[in-house]
């Protein structure tokens, strides 16, 4: 058997991927859902290319547990690499089967056939046929073999174009999101939660609490199970006003495991951890100079503009089918976990993906889906739950904080002779479906409580806390130690790029520090340690595009910095140059990025991901940190958790190095780490001070200048 794409191995029958219809269309099924990353356009292009269709002839159905294949999560920059590979393989086999049927019907040789717009034609006959006419002749319930020839990228007509996203016109018109979805007789509900995930309800007489809450105008029902407390009503606006009053009625215990917030670089190494050497290669050479430095990033919030939302329909009774509309990244896992938490069979529950507000990892989507499902089950009526702004900024899992220490030696020739990186961090993934147990906030609160699973991080090669901890440079010696902090004071899980953001920031900052020690230009220093021609090409191209540090072109308080990384050490290459002006704070004036993501499916979609990745990383790097007190999360509003605003956005220029003969590589998270390093290196270039701890706020900058 051929080495089939991993998603095909899980869903091996062709009709799990391709169906003829509706009408004069073909349906392609995918487990990779549209999160705003434009994957719908790219997957459509890939399927159309193999099937010989126009984009208008293809309907993509993604993330519906009733009919879409289970492709785990839409995460990790894997949707083109994994989901695209699956559709390409399935599409090729469908085309081959139909071509055989067409050859028979038309009485021509199979090799003479071509398919365009779904129509099979041959130079050997005037007659034509198409997918829809042949539908009765072809059995799509066969196993996918992987033997069907894929179309050569040289012949591509649709893949490689900047096809406009099919989902955008509706989103820019009116109802399009799960937030906008409504069912007849639907109740709105809101869940009451304390200021920290570990807070419990103050002991209270259940009946009295229910009576007090039901007495509030707008509340028609109360759902109370253990520490899970929700109010419901027909009018959302009245319910939201009742929520404010309800929060004053309900008391919460103090958080159970919340330490006092301090500097990350002091907090993390003091926490209990399990340490292990996760990478060791070569032997240290004798150095003439040694250098050591520590870097850190704080806990970061997803901070989506739209708070998480879901609608659940119990079809009128507790024993009926339960349908949940959700903006989850993993519909099948979510279905399984909700079924398990509610004591249901999997086949009694369906999750249907609908668009949500920006998704950058494991946010509140799954939790709010459980909230809606549980309340709907308890009340026996369709329920819509939308979290409030404070919920989104307090209860969505945060991205883990990290501390990174690097110690390296330099030889007499100005080359790195030894390298040891140590990273302290929590888990970077705790999604529903990751490891054992149920990972749903509400399920941990209901009675009988479902225990919260222990934290377990992703191991290398993908890595969680240690993602991109192995420097991709050619070093004679390299060791990486992972200090896995087994518990986190804040609820943490996957946020865009996981540990790669901190590790790349640290490695790329440290390289500039080493370059300075040997008085070498940072670009030259990097190239000295890089043989991979694709890595060298993006660095050389970004240096050229940015007019890298031209002698004589220096401007006071202005600096240029570079950052480079290959995401997960195996996905897209990305090199970033930032130009900053430092006054009372850091102003990023311009950012250049060069990306090699192999064969590009949709150039504009890829550019959009890189642009967005750069801007989001600038926001993290310059402004963001979750804050808390002993009572709970304090960065609960946009005042407390400011993100980048329009007047802080630099010019951004993205250049793609399209490599048509190389496999497509995941790129959605590639820019995060390189951007942070480029900014810190530019600040060092401008001021001569080294910012090692994020975020680079005006206060930190002032402190840094004072200390220097």
């Amino acid at each position: 058997m051929k080495d089939l794409p991993s998603s095909i191995q899980k869903s091996p029958r062709l009709n799990q991927w391709i169906a003829i219809g509706p009408g004069k269309q073909i349906t392609a099924y995918s487990g990779k859902v549209e999160l705003g990353q434009g994957i719908g356009a790219a997957l459509t292009q890939i399927a159309c290319e193999e099937l010989g269709l126009t984009p208008q002839q293809l309907q993509l159905v993604a993330g519906h547990t009733g009919c879409s294949p289970d492709e785990l999560w839409t995460a990790g920059s894997q949707s083109i690499e994994v989901g695209g590979a699956a559709l390409r393989c399935a599409g090729a086999q469908a085309r081959a089967l139909f071509a055989r049927a067409a050859a028979s019907v038309l009485g021509v040789a199979e090799e003479s056939l071509r398919v365009e717009r779904g129509i099979f034609s041959s130079a050997q006959t005037q007659r034509v046929t198409d997918y829809w006419s042949l539908a009765g002749e072809v059995d799509l319930s066969v196993e996918i073999t992987g033997d069907a020839p894929l179309r050569s990228p040289c012949d591509y007509r649709i893949a490689g174009l900047s096809l406009a996203r099919p989902d955008l016109p509706a989103k820019l018109s009116g109802a399009a999101f799960v937030h906008d979805f409504a069912l007849p007789g639907m109740l709105h509900a809101r869940v009451l939660r304390g200021p920290h995930t570990s807070c419990r309800l103050e002991p209270v007489a259940k009946e009295a609490l229910a009576a007090a809450l039901t007495a509030l105008p707008g509340v028609t029902a109360v759902v109370h199970s253990g520490n899970f407390l929700a109010i419901a009503g027909a009018d959302e606006e009245e319910l939201v006003r009742a929520l404010v009053k309800a929060q004053k009625i309900v008391g919460w215990t103090k958080p159970q495991k919340l330490c006092v917030q301090g500097e990350i670089e002091e907090m993390l190494p003091a926490m209990a951890c399990e340490s292990s050497v996760v990478h060791l290669a070569g032997a240290p050479q004798t150095p003439v100079t040694q250098h050591r430095a520590r870097y850190s990033r704080p806990y970061l919030a997803h901070a989506s503009i739209g708070p998480s939302c879901a609608v659940a329909d119990p079809s009128g009774g507790p024993s009926s089918h339960l349908t949940i509309w959700s903006h989850t990244q993993g519909p099948h896992f979510l279905r399984d976990q909700i079924a398990s938490a509610l004591g249901r069979e999997k086949n009694e529950v369906d999750v249907i993906h609908m668009p949500g507000a920006g998704c950058y990892g494991h946010n509140g989507a799954d939790d709010v889906a459980f909230d809606a499902a549980f309340i709907a089950e308890m009340l026996g009526t369709p329920v819509r739950v939308q979290w409030m702004r404070e919920d989104e900024l307090s209860h969505s899992p945060f991205g883990s904080a990290s501390l990174v220490e690097i110690e390296a030696g330099l030889d007499a020739g100005g080359k790195i002779s030894s390298w040891h990186l140590q990273v302290w961090s929590h888990t970077h993934i705790k999604r529903p479906g990751w490891d054992e147990g149920i990972n749903l906030l509400g399920a941990w609160a209901i009675e009988p409580a479902i225990p919260e699973p222990k934290d377990k991080d992703v191991s290398l090669p993908a890595g969680g806390g240690q993602r991109n901890a192995i420097a991709i440079y050619d070093l004679p010696h390299q060791a990486v130690t992972h200090h896995f902090i087994t518990r986190s004071p804040l609820r943490v899980s996957a946020l865009r790029s996981l540990g790669a953001y901190a590790n790349t920031f640290a490695i790329e900052s440290f390289l500039d520090e080493l370059a300075a020690k040997v008085e070498t230009d940072p670009v030259t220093f990097r190239l000295r340690h890089l043989a991979d021609p694709r890595a060298r090409a993006v660095i050389e191209a970004v240096a050229k595009a940015s007019g890298w540090r031209q002698p004589g072109a220096e401007i006071a308080n202005t600096g240029m910095g570079i950052g480079f990384g290959r995401y997960k050490n195996r996905s897209a290459y990305c090199a970033v140059v930032a130009r900053v002006r430092v006054e009372e704070k850091v102003h990023v004036e311009k950012v250049w990025a060069v990306v090699d993501a192999g064969r590009v499916v949709n150039p504009d979609g890829l550019t959009n991901q890189i642009e967005g990745g750069i801007i989001q990383s600038l926001s993290w790097t310059l402004k963001e940190a979750v804050t808390w007190s002993e009572s709970g999360i304090t960065s609960q509003t946009w005042d407390g958790y400011p993100i980048l605003t329009f007047d802080e956005v630099p010019e951004v220029e993205v250049l793609l190095l399209d490599r048509i003969d190389e496999p497509s590589l995941g790129c959605g998270e590639a820019a995060a780490g390189p951007t942070a390093a480029a900014v810190a290196n530019a600040v060092a270039h401008a001021l001569g001070v080294r910012a090692r701890h994020l975020p680079l706020t005006a206060e930190r900058l002032t402190r840094l200048i004072d200390e220097t």
Partner: protein, 155 residues
Amino acid sequence: MSFKVNGRTVEVDADPDAPLLYVLRNDLDFKGSRFGCGTGHCGACTVLIDGHAVQSCTTPLWSVSSAPNPEILTIEGLIADPIGALVREAFLDEQAAQCGYCINGIIVSVTALLKRIPNPSQAEILEALSRHLCRCGSHVRILRAVDSAIRMLTP
């Protein structure tokens, strides 16, 4: 209470203190204006009231109905407005969105700006966008779309 939404006079039976956003979404079924924060920080709920870009999540119904003959335009109504339609077209041309949740509010604000000032300065554009947040980092595209709309308006 009665006022005009997207060119149609509507009767609304709701609490005068109710924020306009909920009335538009749930009572009148105009879902294109979205809840983001409820405090007027993010701009996802922005609508036009008599030509002014207003955050509907912090605008109580009584303040709308107390104006003489108020006219509200949401994204649904802007599509029938020449400048609104042009701005939206520019956003689609530039693919100026990722998730798209914040964009309708931004299109509304940009439309209000261009109705007032057809050829605004960069400072005026940034001022109009200062009450909007985007988390996906679509800012550079949004700014390109605004420039493109201005070019279409001032040949």
